[in-house]
Symmetry: C2
Subunit: 384 residues, 2 copies
Amino acid sequence: MRKPRLMTPGPAPVPEEVLLELARPVIHHRSAEAKAVITEVAAGLKEVLQTQNDVMILTASGTGAMEAAAVNTVPPGSKALVLNAGHFAARWADICKAFGINAVSLDTEWGQPVDPTQVANALKQHPDTVCVMGTLSETSTGTGHPVEAIGKVVAATDAVFAVDGISGVGAMECRTDAWGIDILCVGSQKALMLPPGLAFVSVSPKAWAKIDAFESHSFYFNLKSARKKMKEFDTPFTPAHTLILALRASLKRIKEEGIENVWNRHKRMSDACQAGVQALGLELFSARPAEGLTAFRVPQGFKDSDIRNRLVERFGITTVGGQGKLKGQIVRVGHMGYTDEIDVVAGLAALEMVLSDLGFDIEPGCAVTAAQQVLIGQKTVASR
Amino acid sequence: MRKPRLMTPGPAPVPEEVLLELARPVIHHRSAEAKAVITEVAAGLKEVLQTQNDVMILTASGTGAMEAAAVNTVPPGSKALVLNAGHFAARWADICKAFGINAVSLDTEWGQPVDPTQVANALKQHPDTVCVMGTLSETSTGTGHPVEAIGKVVAATDAVFAVDGISGVGAMECRTDAWGIDILCVGSQKALMLPPGLAFVSVSPKAWAKIDAFESHSFYFNLKSARKKMKEFDTPFTPAHTLILALRASLKRIKEEGIENVWNRHKRMSDACQAGVQALGLELFSARPAEGLTAFRVPQGFKDSDIRNRLVERFGITTVGGQGKLKGQIVRVGHMGYTDEIDVVAGLAALEMVLSDLGFDIEPGCAVTAAQQVLIGQKTVASR
């Protein structure tokens, strides 16, 4: 028997009652019922994103939300500052390139957090920057960036701050309005506990001013059209509205738990996972771990694929390896969304056994014990 | 008791076993299992589209596929000929405008089919046309356009032929390769019997030559990236892959019935619906009806909303009214995808009763009888 356990940093597990929503007969997307659902999820999204800004629903992967943020805000030839610290941050630069946006790249070593002082310096050097493009949780390295501090820096300038919160929102504290995030991009398949297919974008008045100042080359991802329709609780084009129905169910769950409790749960899972991994003598990859996933270096003499394949074969646990230049060097374990503390403990127990099978010298129970010590409050993890 | 019956021209009803696929636990989209599913659906889509061309899977509404077709094929400032005969054909022109494509509009009265001779003349007048943008089934008017004949005209020129097949493919005969359709755009929520959220684009070698000749301003909808990934049975960005799993189930159904039988079933449903509507003394809106929906004019002295609301209230039947300049003037009844002949007969019976309730002078059973006469072969409908 193999029981599947999804421990990837997106897609993340989806609660059973949310999955069942998807199996309901399809309704018409312009009906009163559909509008009522959008009205309800619009309010729920604002709560999760901690914002009073408009939140638009796009039928797309999270990348679609990033494209929408970039092309609607920065005219071709104008300047964007990309906080380039990983595979997904680099996507901002790729999007800029495709649309003729002049992207200045502020490079940070992968696994290190972006330094707000460097952002301030870069903005002094490039005062004509229209948009700073950053990341809340860099999924490729498992790093959480200091978005609050960066937001303060950007807020003091004319630039707007666009944040890829795809694997971060719901998995770690993120206060859109309080932190000065002008545009926040979110995906459905991470901590929002849905399958992939929807993306969300919140837009501040400061960002709308930039967006309204020019006609962007965009149609499907035109945020002005999306804003107009969202005011009527509608979308410009047929949305993936069975996913919107499912979103209502997952937002209901988040509301019941409370968004701060959701963040705290992810913080505990992250702390426990880190403690467990380190108790095994493994090295964390990130200097400032994100809270929805844990990335550790593949121990010398081992292959990441051996560890990951054995986790799948023996325990049905899916994890992911490194991307781009980190291929083969790290293993990334997701603990976001519909995941609880015991899932993390079980995952660590599996990791212990798999490493033991592969000949790695481990003491059975050491990772589990370390995680439990964190979870019962006997041990704390250095705060960030 | 109100039993919901979706008779809209998209979204269309989804078979129960396809809905249940959506309720399965989420898998990882880069797993061997996910690749195997894409391999299978890629073959199935080619069969449904009757093509040997590449077929790409996009996570978007059908409009996303139209945008992909336009921006990847026609450089800004170059010319496109839009066969403008309805609300959705006009979307081609809107997309061109957004991306700086010079759209020449060949206008046809709404409800009339595009005339292939006029297309030939327009192409003579505009020999620098890069792409002709047409429609298989114009959902706003219920008109099926003579795509085969237009395809012959375009094939004799340097232009490529892009067709919006969103509400047409699977609901009426469409032979991509034999008819010279270079780019075919398809949506998931119509005759392919899925919820909305996926779109498909097939691209011919003639179209790839245009696409490869320049760097388009596109990222999320970049067809070159999509082609590259599709060769590995993968997608550039996280796809809505629970919908892809469901697609496998709906394609299995289509394969079992046989695509020609699927077309024939839709032809019979369309003929029966037309016969029934006409037996009630109602006037068909289109001079060349599409086969996935029937549009009829609202009879003098009646309001479309009264008819449609009563259909919902009394029988749970959802239909749609007119769009744009046809608002209030027509009612559109969908009969596509997971819909059979008896659904159409039942819909006509409901329409009879609703019209009677509203004081319209009808003879009970007349629409049903006319439809049955068509379905048992006693009566034929003038072929197009």
